[in-house]
Symmetry: C2
Subunit: 315 residues, 2 copies
């Protein structure tokens, strides 16, 4: 079914997706693309049709990454009983509601039905596994595999072990995501927002400040990012960028000469809030710009550019 399946450990054959909203379906498609048999566990009555439709929508992107998605439906199963759904799974990827009590009950409910070798992964962006495994007897093979949306397209998966997660499970998780073409990165502490969302929030805070104070328009701020720091960070992250910014003297030279200026800039960065005038201004500007283009068209344009960049970087 795919030219990339050979990278997967042959022991890993069956995956179960719990919760098949946009994130769950994107994982489903990627798992199918990598030759896994995938069982969807989702309570919606129309889940079979919804899943097929949702997977078909992401096929062009997967084809563009080199995956063959013909006959994907042959490996796709549906099981509404979560106990049965997890019973043969080597990989479970959970994408349920971001609700602590719900997740705690869910994980405890299927614990006794798991294969001992199963890896249990959650896409949660907000609830660390130390919290949601609280009612489980054994959480050694449970951890977070937090994707950046959409999972089938964006390489990053933040891998965040909980207090009880075993080292072996972390290693197997990094290996699994790598085998299916992702770029998993280990996060050492269960900090709120993990890394990518915190960095994104930091940049967005200053973006809102600059637009709300009239320094630059929303569209122009986006153009600035895409034509400078976005481009740069796609090629080299912030530390590599500033290491090179220090010239042959590297990061020590950079910190010595530009560190003080950077720190004084930190002191005057903005502290905006989503109060009514700010929200009104943002909505006014988006109505005059992006909202004029249909959502599907904007998304397609973004995804095509994304894929073009990834191909240019061989990511």
């Amino acid at each position: 079914m795919t030219k990339l399946s050979s990278k997967l450990d042959p022991q890993i054959k069956n995956a179960t997706i719990i919760g098949a909203g946009a994130i769950g379906l994107s994982w489903t498609a990627l798992f199918l693309a990598n030759g896994l048999k995938v069982t969807i566990n989702d309570p919606r009555p129309d889940i079979e049709q919804t899943a097929i439709t949702g997977i078909k929508e992401v096929i062009p992107g997967l084809n563009s990454l080199g995956y063959d998605m013909e006959n994907f439906a042959n490996n796709l199963y549906f099981e509404k009983d979560v106990h049965k759904a997890v019973a043969t799974a080597d990989i479970i990827q959970e994408n349920g509601p971001e609700n602590v009590a719900f997740k705690q009950d869910l994980f405890a409910s299927f614990e006794d039905y798991l294969k001992p070798t199963a890896l249990v992964l959650s896409s949660s962006s907000g609830i660390p596994s130390t919290i949601f495994t609280a009612k489980m007897k054994n959480a050694g093979r449970v951890l977070l595999g937090h994707p950046f949306n959409p999972p089938h397209l964006i390489p990053l998966v933040e891998v965040v072990p909980g207090e009880r997660t075993s080292k072996e499970a972390v290693e197997e998780t990094l290996k699994f995501y790598t085998a299916i073409g992702k770029s998993p990165i280990l996060i050492e502490k269960e900090i709120t927002g993990f890394v990518a969302n915190r960095l994104q929030a930091a940049l967005f805070r200053e973006s809102v400040y600059l637009v709300s104070t009239g320094v630059v328009s929303m569209e122009n701020l986006d153009k600035i990012v895409s034509s400078s720091i976005g481009l740069r960070w796609a090629a080299a992250g912030p530390f590599k960028t500033f290491t090179l910014g220090g010239g042959p003297g590297g990061l020590p030279h950079f910190l010595q000469h530009l560190g003080p200026g950077l720190e004084s800039l930190w002191k005057i960065l903005g502290d905006p809030h989503f109060d009514q005038p700010t929200v009104d201004l943002l909505i006014k500007q988006v109505n005059e710009s992006y909202a004029k283009t249909p959502y599907e068209e904007l998304t397609k344009e973004r995804d095509e550019q994304q894929l073009a960049i990834m191909k240019s970087l061989n990511k």
Copy 2:
């Protein structure tokens, strides 16, 4: 000399570069690539040799962007007398030391020697034109054209008018930079750090916090950025990203549902300082990672990836 020179207003023939360090030489090369006659004004005794060497270093990048740099030296001139250097210039791009008194005296000193139609642009990242033109009689055609390093490669130029800059001069500046293949963006207020450097500082502050608190290693943070938000922002800036993140409901839907979570994340973002333990940790990590690769090799790798991305986006 170049296939792109035709986009330039035929009235614009002569450019003068004041201060030919790395930024000045990068501008010089780009101006030459676009068919301008370029005069370098720089006090160093070995400037002719230094300039030729520096320009040759950036030729591969310019070739890769489609510019023909053969015979570039035929259009390159040197003039140590600043009055003579600016006398025939249609464009002046200043890249002198970031020193208020120096710049004020410099700009006032050559004012009377300019062609009335000359555009006078400064690459300053820190001193706005309202300040450095303080001793000039007429500052109507003086403003900032702040590049993102290196100017010949990165598309962005932040165009920042001062209090006395005329609207016509702003329009002509945007037109000029566009004609030579840049992506100029108008900044409406002379705010410290302008836009790109403030956004970069905001993301770097949180990056330093996450590395200094042991959440993630420096190299892994860079990988996270390059495999998620960097990729994304190269294709679509932060507002476009969150507009699409709101689904068909767009930015209003996003702000309503995810705004509160984002604002609570803003409240807990880190507030690091470049104190000795932080600097020591960063230098230790860079010594164990990037510093092991020679500077030239790292730069080449970064620039090649940068160019590949730009080509994939047709930027």
